[in-house]
């Protein structure tokens, strides 16, 4: 006997495209289904959505287009007919400021620079810091959801929020799988560009360089400096 469960579908109109979407699908996924790309930062397919960066913000209307409010498309699930606009002046204004805030906080993280460049930011009006962690939470989620480790978590709150292993040392829950390390966008070695004509900077070859979150920055890593290995 086959048992089929009825899934409701709803009419979703995204940037003018109309389609029937299964209940519970996120706007981001629905947009992908009709080929519309929405920029993201803390989202990764396969991991649960976090809704932290808000870069995937879109305008949503559930009253037939009379009023629109802003929502994060990665975590907004469709449970009724909706109209979505992914690229309006309001959304662009939001994304630009978010990108400016991001790159002011972490200018040495390539992903932040990429996002800023994509939204046309060429100057930052805030004091530049040098954080290497974007607080995207991908490492926390991959450890928790895919590896079953639960060795990393968010610590503190507000501007002091960080990603860390408990007590800032690699915990016994850590499986040494390297998942957090590989998924971290902050780890990417920034391209400094060539300064002198003909110069080879050699940075891209320095792959053995430690992740920038280390040492003692955000969480314990896999290099020989970690006390758990001694």
């Amino acid at each position: 006997m086959f048992v089929t469960t009825e899934v409701s579908t709803y009419l979703a109109e995204i940037d003018g495209f109309q389609m029937k979407i299964d209940e519970g699908t996120t706007i981001l996924d629905a947009a992908h289904q009709c080929g519309i790309h929405i920029p993201t930062m803390c989202y990764l397919e396969g991991l649960s959505p976090y809704g932290g960066c808000r870069i995937c913000s879109v305008e949503v209307s559930t009253d037939g287009g009379k009023t629109f409010r802003v929502a994060a498309s990665c975590s907004y699930e469709i449970h009724r007919p909706i109209i979505v606009k992914t690229d309006t002046p309001r959304i662009r204004r939001i994304r630009k400021m978010l990108a400016e805030l991001l790159v002011a906080s972490a200018p040495n993280v390539k992903l932040a620079q990429d996002i800023a460049a994509r939204f046309g930011i060429n100057q930052v009006r805030f004091k530049m810091e040098d954080n290497r962690c974007l607080l995207c939470g991908l490492c926390v989620r991959i450890c928790d959801e895919h590896m079953g480790g639960k060795a990393l978590g968010f610590v503190g709150r507000g501007p002091e929020k960080k990603v860390s292993a408990p007590f800032a040392i690699r915990s016994e829950l850590c499986l040494n799988c390297g998942g957090c390390d590989s998924i971290c966008p902050g780890k990417m070695i920034p391209c400094q560009g060539v300064k002198e004509p003909g110069e080879l900077c050699g940075k891209c070859l320095r792959l053995e360089e430690m992740p920038f979150c280390c040492p003692m920055g955000t969480f314990g890593c896999f290099c020989e400096n970690n006390p758990l290995d001694q």
Binding site: A151, G153, V155, G156, A165, P166, F167, L173
Partner: protein, 151 residues
């Protein structure tokens, strides 16, 4: 701190995971702070990953992970107290004791905390020293109290 003390507090709250914050607060009453060993014990007994316990312990202001001074001074920085000059009061205490908020003086005597409103706004500026409330405080009144505490 004895693990049996930790266990009995957890049992008093019937080991309910939703009571975690109250459990940590009750345990903290004993030593004034939550040590690594105590937190790991809670994780073991309540079968909650230590990562989550650590995340909760670092999220809430009332939970301390470092030993506190012999005396605790809390300055209320609620709006009503602020408008009555609590910021100036705080600066004076900081310079008198040479300590930052959430820090402890070098001699281990005083820990300074700032709280966002104790709800005693009518008698602001309010300072709590070792659980005792003092209202309508000024810089000089506070200094005298601190000197009394020291001796």
């Amino acid at each position: 701190m004895e693990f049996s003390m930790v266990d009995s507090i957890i049992d008093k709250h019937r080991c309910k995971s939703w009571a975690l914050i109250s459990i940590l607060q009750d345990i903290q009453e004993q030593d004034g702070y939550l040590s690594q060993y105590v937190l790991r014990r809670v994780a073991d007994k309540m079968k909650i990953p230590i990562t989550r316990i650590y995340g909760v312990a670092t999220f809430y202001k009332t939970l301390n992970l470092v030993p506190q001074g012999r005396h605790n001074i809390t300055v209320c920085s609620g709006t009503a107290c602020h408008v009555r000059g609590s910021n100036r009061l705080l600066k004076e205490i900081m310079s008198f004791l040479d300590v930052e908020p959430e820090g402890t003086t070098e001699d281990g005597e005083f820990t300074l905390n700032v709280v966002n409103c104790l709800g005693a706004c009518a008698i602001g500026p309010v300072i709590v020293i070792d659980g005792k409330y003092h209202g309508k405080m000024s810089a000089s009144k506070t200094k005298n109290l601190l000197i009394k505490c020291r001796s």
